[in-house]
Symmetry: C2
Subunit: 632 residues, 2 copies
């Protein structure tokens, strides 16, 4: 029986993201999908700002952008008036109070996005088998290293295959064989279900906001307008609701009925269709899976675990983040870095996000069916208005929280072994935490900042400098190098000590030539970045930095680029992180980009010991339990 690290069922966003990560990190993958081709038309299409950061971090953003997707910077609200609909306001889709590198939503057909992943997966030697399906699985433990037995079959039943794996992942979508077999229940949070019609195509219209995202309410019904690549537009139209008197989840409508309904809603404007690329009607209810895993060997993610309305464009994005969250944890366990206990944080972290998503989804529906705040009320949130803070009423708070959520920057994982808090096993007065001492928060994404790379003087985005390589990220903000030389040298001495988290996982083949290895010269567990609050021209890496840091020659930065968000700061990246520009600080970021902990940079053993404490909560005590990636 052939053995794999993981079997992945389903090549939608969740399955593809997991496969891409693990293929890059060297794992042996069996990946199947029951469709004979990738998504040809329709389905999800919204990439949120946070997801675009992630795609760039994987080096896939350029391929996405090559398709010239539509970009949504603002959302327009249209309400009924005396002569048909009229615009009542516009809001930024990712307002300025969110510090986003890409403050817009990217709209592109799911099939094109999937193809970008498929090409990348194939480049790393994995070929998705189609149309294949899963017929049986069992964590029978007959082989302790490969405890899961999985049977697969061609959908026509002619071919069958049984194999063993360390893990099984279901990214099958809302109808999941794996979830059913495991007997995991779906809870329906909001009892209201809807039937949606969705239509992609090219229109001609005098409606002025056809290139914007719009929510249109009229006496004749409601529509959501979403611009697309290729001069297309998507219309979402609600066909039935379980609150209707004649509710029937099988209610449908023809293309012509939807078009004529849309025309009625959009009066006094005219809309006609040059072509329809895709049209579908589907009932959808809010649902969330009770569990994401029962045994930490068989996992589920994406639509298998949460379903909701398509309006907020969150489905694909949440699936991506589910998969990345799981990918690095499997990687760290299988590399012998982390104890198996971190696998339990997949469910606890991601289920919380799904619960938030469903609550948000219901709130979003209520928000759009009630009165809208005026431009004055939302103040800084409106891109066209100066950002002087308006008095924040509950309504505005809800709106702002929604923007954070839809942009993807609202994701905040609760404290656990990976996300430091005062209840974490590691106790040291040197941990900095919000709001005392830093604006960074464990469990939230690292704040973006722009710095100068010392080696080549390139102006770069610090948060993107370490690619999604599966390693933890240790950002050593050195402050003023003249003041912190001793502290930096003490920390470096700690990193070089044999029992340190940094040295324990050193590459086994110590004599291999790693001269050209930019991100992992010493180990695959962590990648270091050093940021000095000094002008680039004043920094001589070899003279200023201890060897362990200097060997990351391409990861030393000058914090000398002015930033409009902290106009008074001399070291803007330090300032944006809430770190002292003179004294610096150390930031640990998880492999998926979320802050783990923030520690003061001090002379002596304190900083190193605090970091040791943080990692000690979840690292393997002994070296050599696993292997560093199946093929590496």
């Amino acid at each position: 029986m052939e053995k794999y690290d993981i079997v992945i069922i389903g090549a939608g966003p969740a399955g593809l993201m997991l496969s891409t990560c693990l293929a890059r990190w060297g794992y042996k993958i069996k990946h199947i999908d029951n469709r004979s081709e990738p998504t040809p038309t329709g389905r999800a299409d919204g990439i949120q700002p946070r997801s675009l950061d992630l795609l760039r971090n994987m080096g896939l953003k350029r391929q996405i952008m090559a398709h010239e997707p539509a970009k949504v910077y603002e959302v327009a609200f249209w309400d009924p008036g005396t002569k048909g609909i009229h615009r009542t306001g516009t809001w930024a889709s990712c307002p300025k109070f969110i510090d986003a590198r890409y403050p817009f939503t990217t709209l592109l057909h799911q099939g094109l996005i999937e193809r970008v992943f498929i090409e990348d997966i194939e480049k790393h030697g994995v070929k998705i088998k189609r149309p294949w399906t899963i017929t049986e699985f069992n964590n029978n433990g007959k082989d302790p290293v490969y405890p899961v037995e999985v049977s697969l079959a061609h959908v026509d039943g002619t071919l069958k295959e049984t194999l063993r794996a360390k893990y099984l992942f279901s990214g099958e979508g809302a109808r999941s064989f794996v979830r059913d077999q495991l007997g995991v229940k779906i809870h329906h949070k909001d009892p209201i279900a809807h039937v949606w019609g969705v239509m992609d195509g090219v229109v001609r219209t005098d409606f002025p906001d056809i290139k914007m995202k719009c929510t249109i309410h009229s006496d004749a019904g409601s529509i959501m307008v979403i611009p697309r690549e290729n001069n297309m537009v998507r219309l979402y139209i609600q066909i039935a609701s379980s609150t209707d008197e004649d509710w029937n989840p099988r209610k449908t409508a023809t293309t012509e009925e939807v078009q004529s309904h849309a025309q009625e809603i959009m009066r006094p404007y005219h809309i006609e269709w040059d072509r329809v690329e895709w049209y579908s009607v589907y009932p959808i209810g809010q649902g969330i899976a009770e569990r994401y895993t029962l045994d930490e060997r068989i996992f589920m993610g994406g639509d298998v675990c949460h379903t909701h309305s398509p309006k907020a464009g969150q489905g694909m994005n949440t699936a991506f983040l589910d998969a990345v969250n799981l990918a690095w944890k499997i990687h760290h366990v299988e590399s012998g870095f982390a104890s198996r206990s971190i696998l339990s944080t997949y469910e606890s972290e991601r289920k919380l996000i799904a619960e938030n998503l469903l609550e948000f989804d219901a709130r979003y529906a209520r928000l759009f069916s009630s009165r809208l705040p005026s431009a004055g009320e939302i103040g800084g949130a409106n891109t066209s208005t100066a950002s002087h803070a308006a008095e924040e009423n509950d309504f505005v708070k809800t709106f702002k929280a929604s923007c954070e959520f839809t942009s993807g920057y609202g994701v905040a994982y609760n404290p656990n072994s990976l996300n430091w808090s005062p209840t974490h096993p590691a106790q040291s007065p040197l941990f900095l935490h919000h709001p005392h001492g830093t604006v960074l928060r464990p469990g939230r994404i690292l704040i973006p900042s722009t710095v100068t790379r010392v080696a080549d003087a390139n102006i770069v985005h610090l948060e993107q400098e370490i690619p999604l390589n599966g390693s933890f990220r240790l950002y050593i903000f050195c402050g003023n190098p003249a003041l912190t030389a001793r502290a930096v040298s003490d920390l470096s001495a700690h990193l070089s000590a044999p029992r340190c988290f940094y040295s324990r996982f050193a590459h086994k083949d110590k004599n291999a030539d790693r001269y050209h290895e930019p991100h992992n010269p010493h180990n695959r567990f962590v990648t270091l970045c050093t940021i000095l609050a000094a002008p680039r021209a004043s920094i001589e890496i070899q003279e200023l930095l201890p060897r362990v840091l200097a060997e990351y020659g391409g990861h030393v930065y000058a914090d000398d680029v002015w930033d409009a968000r902290v106009p008074e700061a001399k070291a803007a990246a330090h300032a944006k992180m809430g770190l002292n520009e003179q004294r610096g600080g150390v930031v640990v970021v998880r492999p998926d980009g979320y802050v783990g902990c923030v520690v003061q940079l001090v002379e002596g053993h304190g900083t190193g010991e605090a970091l040791e404490g943080y990692f000690g909560a979840f690292l393997e005590r002994k070296r050599g339990v696993g292997v560093e990636g199946a093929r590496l």
Copy 2:
């Protein structure tokens, strides 16, 4: 005998750029090259900031960047010291006083750049024939529409073809059959010739600036270091000079000799080579062709017309700009828009640039072999220093002018029919000219600015909004729309009048469906952009703008994005152009991106008449002399 619009000889940068432009605009092209494959290694590799603007304007930047080229932001200078070389300073390669969208040089192997063009050409139906060569040509006028007869042959002599064409272009490189046959002489400006060695490869070294562009002088000789894609570096090393006592233009050196010489120059640092991708030795002298064309039917460009040292990385960039300059002029003559007289401006404009390039090349050589200015002296030019103006001595002026030149932004065409000046046939007090009234200068590139596109609220780069579509660009800066409504309406009335430059060239098939045509809804002669000094949310295109402007729905912009270069301005794009933020102004930009004229926006006939006067200097009086692109 088959007939073509143009025969292009040579598929280097000049030939490829010309072919790409004309293929996109619908011309029938015969394109040959005498090499059997595109450039496999080596040759030119520097894309200057201005060229990157151009590539982006052609939609080719993303494909270039997909190869992950090296980016040079700074140049480091190393001089002999007591213990070997030491760094004496660094300069920004495109300092802040130059308002560049991409303030860096992009380094990528010429072959990869060529392939991007070749793919684009093939997409437009042109296939480059290889290895074919030109054997004979003659402007014999036997066919008045296709006066040029050209004979081509496979390099092995087995196949021959004779055809007729409207134009012949030689982009053959320094050794040009066409130039020789025409008897056009090369003038040698600087009598000093050099033999250069150039080596591309991967090195390991403790030299700290190996990722920067460096000029290294030592007692053992001089080197130029240029970083490349794929972790490579290029070294230029001077092997012989005609000023040497034993000068021999055939002097050469082996790979090992150059490597050991480089090691000697770079002491106290060590350098060794993992691999050498390309190594070549070639003698080069400065030369400039007397003429670029004799008859305005047979043209030459690129290295055929100018050769110089490779140090400043200008060769490919100058070739690109030669070709674009010629391409649009041929297009406008063949479309029946412009009179044949504009073809004479190809030589007058581009030969001036080549002369400047050769002068600069000689000056650059002197600059680098003499004392270097200190950081204090260059003041604002140094990226690491605040931009308070240092006292400008001659040396600093030379340096700044050099930066402008090497970035490509120093190109300034002299006044002629296309570049308005007080001596232009069009006389009106409404023409604005530097330094009175505007910072824009005819003959120079349009200044970049960032605005909000009204239709979709996207933040966009105004200078990139019209792609390289062969059309003139008319930017109507409306200032405060409440104040200028009448002026805008008067100008629009002028544009709509039948004899106006705008209406004369209207599409002939008036009933064709152009609803989805974004850039040329009315004609192919000019594309309009309207920029209002008002917040986006306040702009209702259909209500505010006359129909001729409103029909460019995707080309209406709000000038409401703050710009650090004009921090006090409320309408930053207006302010950057030197236009009154209340009153606006009209800017005509040539199809290649250079400013043609700037006119005040006033009520009445004045603005329209001034524009009419400008275009009247070179447009065909009658409609219908040519065709709008061969296939369109």
